[in-house]
Symmetry: C2
Subunit: 295 residues, 2 copies
């Protein structure tokens, strides 16, 4: 078995090829919007959500029709949310992954529309899921649209996050923000892979538990890195959470307890994978990677 | 048969009730985003797209499962596009339908997220289309996602519109902008109603032709009204097209020829309805209404 880092590079190349195929070319009219969409889509993202989607499917079956479309739709939603988050009216960030943010290159109007376009393209992409039956496509759309929505979904988490700046950082509020803001989409990532692989209900329950635990671990580590790492290592402005008065895990629990919590979530994630046996080896490795990453 | 105006009032009440049922309550957490979504969703829209969807279905069958969800998804897309269009970085409008625009009430950050939320909710809504089979739901998603996208769809039209300000107003450019910017979604409105009603391919072709002609008529009349009517009558800033150097039908063809073109499109729309016989009476009336409206 090749090491995870090699494996992820191959997967990333496959995902990038699928994204390229599923996104209108830069020469498709009107060119500007397609250039703006592609600028952020190919700005060096780590493709964590697509990787989770693909490996969840692989843990269940060798055959998973539509799994690349599912993986790409997740990356499109993630990318649109970053473009809009970076806008002056929201986080007002000039850099993302070490490159200028979308609105710094294309202007605010085009950045707003590029975000809208990627959000729309995500759902278009699911209608094109190759080889998947209509019921499977509808199941994917349910997962993606609820996970990225307002009610316990991604946008809901962003709103609570914005509104609770400078509020007393309580454990309950923190849990609610992160379950919605990043947790819902990470959970949907593995569930969508499982849908494509034809998971039964026990498999779906197990993969959901895995998704919830690595989702929380991911966010705890993100908050820790914002405190510990340099802007250079992160490719974005470090220390922003504290400067903006954001409610974070280190702010609520301190760094040491936060590290212990991330490790505990990782252990729970491993436990959830038991039903999949040997097939889940990449999901086990991804859980460890998420907790031990440096950016 | 009751007059169209009465009929539309009843339909509008049904659509409003469905929108209310399909959109999270103002008390659903996080409250602000749901208030912002509802503010624009219930700001006095004429519900033209839902009406076209419902009447297209009625022209084909008495039974059209999921048609209210289809109708509401169209209004959600239309409303999100208005919220984002009105933002300072785009058209920078303070009023819409005689009320303050979303960002003037809720701030830019929340207006951006409210638009994103309505776009997401539109696709969520289609997954909930009551009584429609999975193949029908996927067909609705194809229609909606392509009509509102960048490649010959709504966002594409907005981008060309923005980029061609101050360019020489040619007939070809004008046709391209409007086919995409408003035409695609109006065409999708009748096609989605037809999908719910189980249209055969001849009926789908006829309803598409109708949709294309009333779509063009609608836009020509919109451009004429921007020149002729007061801001008060329109509920938005009149004369903005000329001030912004937009390419409009009056700018390319003059007012008199524009009026004749709208009438000709209306005639073609009527002709397209022939296959539906008596069942299409409301679609005939809607075509006339679109051409003779004053706001």
């Amino acid at each position: 078995m090749i090491p995870l880092s090699e494996h992820l590079k191959l997967r990333q190349a496959e995902v990038d090829a699928a994204l390229d195929r599923l996104t209108p070319a830069e020469t498709t009219l009107p060119e500007t919007i397609h250039k703006a969409m592609r600028y952020s889509l190919f700005a060096g993202g780590k493709r964590i959500r697509p990787a989770l989607c693909l490996e969840a499917a692989a843990a269940i079956s060798d055959v998973a029709p539509g799994v690349f479309e599912a993986a790409c739709s997740l990356e499109m939603i993630h990318t649109y949310s970053l473009i809009h988050d970076d806008l002056p009216a929201l986080d007002n960030d000039d850099y993302r992954r070490g490159k200028l943010t979308n609105h710094k290159v294309f202007g605010e109007a085009m950045a707003i529309l590029a975000g809208d376009s990627l959000l729309t393209l995500a759902f278009q992409t699911l209608t094109r899921a190759a080889g998947l039956d209509a019921a499977g496509k509808v199941a994917l759309m349910e997962e993606l649209s609820f996970a990225s929505g307002t009610d316990e979904g991604m946008i809901g988490g962003q709103v609570i996050d914005i509104e609770s700046e400078r509020l007393p950082p309580t454990a309950e509020l923190l849990a609610r923000i992160h379950r919605a803001k990043t947790g819902a989409l990470l959970r949907a990532s593995v569930r969508m892979g499982a849908v494509c692989a034809g998971a039964d209900s026990a498999q779906m329950a197990a993969i959901s538990r895995y998704g919830e635990h690595i989702g929380l671990a991911f966010q705890i580590v993100d908050d820790i890195l914002d405190v510990e790492e340099s802007s250079e290592a992160l490719g974005k402005t470090a220390g922003k959470d504290a400067a903006q008065g954001k409610i974070t895990f280190p702010a609520v629990y301190g760094l040491e307890t936060s590290r212990a919590m991330a490790a505990a979530e990782c252990t729970e994630a491993h436990a959830a994978l038991e039903v999949f046996g040997e097939r889940a080896v990449r999901l086990h490795q991804l859980a460890d990677l998420i907790v031990h990453r440096k950016a």
